[in-house]
Symmetry: C3
Subunit: 348 residues, 3 copies
């Protein structure tokens, strides 16, 4: 596929400096791009890359006289790049129609233009929205609803009654709707609390590979519209995550945590149960969150504390040996002073 | 299904205050319950919920005059709730009999009333106990034994020779019997140590989704009766976990760790290899355990230290900047004192 | 299978002390071995085990007069053990040929002696090397290349265009080639950056169970020859790992990290994006690496610092309450000194 620079500029609301008529066949990094490709320059750190790139055109934030080929001025070059890359990206390979090797319960409702690969199991009264793609090994439990144009990669398990929105992407191996981890102690044994709620995943959510989202004990575990979860993420029962949040790989969210919108959670973060994480909070990687975070709060460390305080504390942690030395030194000097003063008192 | 309050009270050994004849159709939280449902009141924190609930009946630890409908007095309301919820929970959906879409080796032994979904692979000389349920995509290696009424969710892999007890639950995507991570260095290359042991999982164990339990190098990796593992847990080769222990999500246990009974391990805990974790030990979330823990020990932090000490140390960590300030202040004052004393000595 | 002690000694370049003609039927630990088995003695800590073992023969680093049966002197007994264990280990069970229950695209190329179990999906133009084994539930995307004698356990997903070398082992449930986690913010929403690169895994790599290796945004994510990844490991897009490195379970490597050869990374380590980890660096378990590590660097802690410094700092962390006490004590004494000196000044 090829697009003219004019078409591309229109698509991202940009202004061409150079020849609108040149044809673009793909996107690439400054380093990797060759003739016929468009790249982006977002940041002075890549000034050298801009000089050396062989790209035919570059998205720039302001006209850059040092680049002698074609430019498209846009407010956010990286965003323009992402959008145009989406135009050129190869489509997800679709199985043509419904494989005879799949098992689709007769009571289920399959939308138009759905692609179902072999060895997909679709339970009773399930609904698969128009244009969805289900890869091999996907299990869809009874009464699950999958939205339109949703993409479910191989070996994903979605258990009974869960609700998945439109244009959701669930990467391979993830499990949606496994039982929450709930027991009551009876003497030394653990009695299972039946987990009879569901998982609801709203439109435009993306779930990484081998992640787990547990069903609620009662009610629902709920991932808000546009939120993106990375790989190997754990979401406990009855967790609510607001819209447009980001959860990086291997983070774990304990049961009944309530997370606001546009929260950013770093990799390997752990959040204790029943906390409130305010909207737009930011949690640094590996932080261990043991108490609620107000809206806009930025925290780091285990136990997590405000990020600024953490930075100072962390730098002092590595200087503890010096602190200890200084303390010892003071103790010696103090002893000397005390002795001297005592000596004087005895003299006097 | 409906049960009379009398039947419910008998089932949990409780005493009815109110009308034993009313019919109950389900369980729910205080907030969520409506007429015909029973809930539980375990804790004064939920006093407000008890006042407002629309439940027809509530499990209570002692008679509560503020609740005007029906009460069932039990020693542990949450436990009574869990048990009764089990009565009302919908049964796991069973495939009727053995699917023709499964591959079941002719030498295997399949018990009565087993449910095998399509695309289940059962190897040579495997044994599947009475009443077990195997969902689609389950792989059962040669000579594996699965106990009675054991439940194995979709896309679980159980490799050759592993032994799974009765009434075990293994959630979707978990892997039992993958090779332990063992190599010997030969110059710069890693020579694999063949992992020829097995995994043994005893009765009433529950394994969460996408967890991994590695087979032993020699002998067995062993999960004791009644122990519950959450999602994304890693159990290394030759680990032994005693009975009725709890391992929360994303915890990782290195090879040859020996864990006692009734141990509780928080989320994202890591345990170094070859340690002994005494029975009833408790390990706080995200702790990094670098040495053995005596029975009943409670530890936190990385490296893990006794929990009480940790609490004081952790609170001081965030106050390190102040400690540093105090140290600086003392140094200045010390210098002043020393100068003054020196001045006096010179004067005298 | 049985081998004479002579054959075994030749295989590992060892020297027999005792009867070369005895027959050995297997390997085992000192504790577990019985007659007909060979074990190894690598370390004085196991002196007691050597005395008590019932093994017929033992690999030793130097002749040991205390062991009265047969010995094989080798430079590295554990390595000799691993190699000989490999001879005795049962072979991986192979499906005879290509199952009719698999779906193999007609355009794909399947080498000699390949074993393909049922419910394996092989996409367009894929290449499967001679002698490879693909277990049930394996998904192989379009144009994927699998090398010779590579072993892919059940329910592994390898997405389009990824390249897997010879003699690679990928354990159950792992996902190779899922999309990298890349978005650009557009106001509050996250716009996906198409991930159009690949994953390349070189010869002799082993990937644990339920691990995830994301495809590059552009270019490739690359795991070098001989590197071993444990279970539940996360490798972000565009990561490069050199040859013969070791990554222990649940470690997570953020995007575009460049890791040298022979690096050892402990369990649950996290590495921030775009860092350089020099060759032969060692990273202690649970460390949080926030800046690059020079070749040979050894780091611990979060944020990671040189290991020696960490050891001193960590031991002081748990003594923070005492440090605080000492500080308080000094403050009191200082006040007393200051008062006394002030008193003297006023007196004089």
């Amino acid at each position: 596929m090829e697009l003219s620079l004019r078409e591309i500029a229109q698509f991202v609301d940009g202004r061409v400096i150079g020849d609108e008529g040149i044809m673009i066949a793909g996107v690439n990094s400054l380093d990797g791009a060759g003739p016929g490709e468009i790249s982006f320059f977002a940041d002075r750190r890549y000034k050298e890359g801009l000089k050396k790139t062989k790209a035919s055109a570059v998205f720039v934030p302001i006209e850059d006289p040092s680049f002698k080929r074609h430019q498209v001025v846009v407010s956010n070059p990286e965003l323009a790049y992402a959008k145009v890359a989406g135009l050129f990206a190869p489509p997800v390979p679709r199985y043509p129609g419904l494989s005879e090797g799949a098992i689709i319960h007769e009571s289920s409702e399959i939308g138009e233009n759905v692609s179902i690969y072999p060895w997909v199991y679709i339970g009773k009264d399930a609904v698969i929205g128009e244009g969805a793609v289900l890869f091999p090994g996907v299990f869809i439990g009874h009464r699950v609803r999958i939205g339109k144009e949703t993409l479910i990669y191989p070996n994903v398990t979605i258990l009974h009654d869960c609700l998945i929105g439109d244009k959701v992407i669930i990467h391979a191996g993830s499990v949606i709707g496994s039982d929450g981890f709930g027991y009551v102690r009876d003497g030394s044994t653990s009695v299972k609390i039946p987990q009879t709620g569901i998982v609801q995943i709203d439109d435009h959510v993306e779930v990484g590979a081998n992640s787990c989202i547990d069903r609620a004990a009662l009610g629902k575990t709920w991932i808000g519209r546009g939120t993106k979860l990375d790989n190997l993420v754990q979401v406990g029962h009855n967790v609510v995550i607001g819209e447009d949040s980001i959860v990086v790989a291997q983070a774990g969210i304990s049961g009944s945590v309530n997370i606001g919108r546009e929260v950013i959670m770093g990799g390997q973060v752990g959040i204790a149960d029943h906390l409130e994480i305010g909207e737009r909070a930011m949690i640094a990687p590996q932080a261990g969150v043991a108490k609620s975070i107000p809206p806009g709060g930025v925290v780091s460390g285990t136990p997590a504390i405000p990020h600024r305080l953490y930075l100072r504390a962390a730098s002092l942690m590595s200087r503890l040996p010096q602190l200890n030395e200084r303390l010892r030194d003071l103790e010696k000097r103090m002893e000397r002073q005390e002795k001297e003063n005592l000596g004087k008192q005895e003299q006097s």
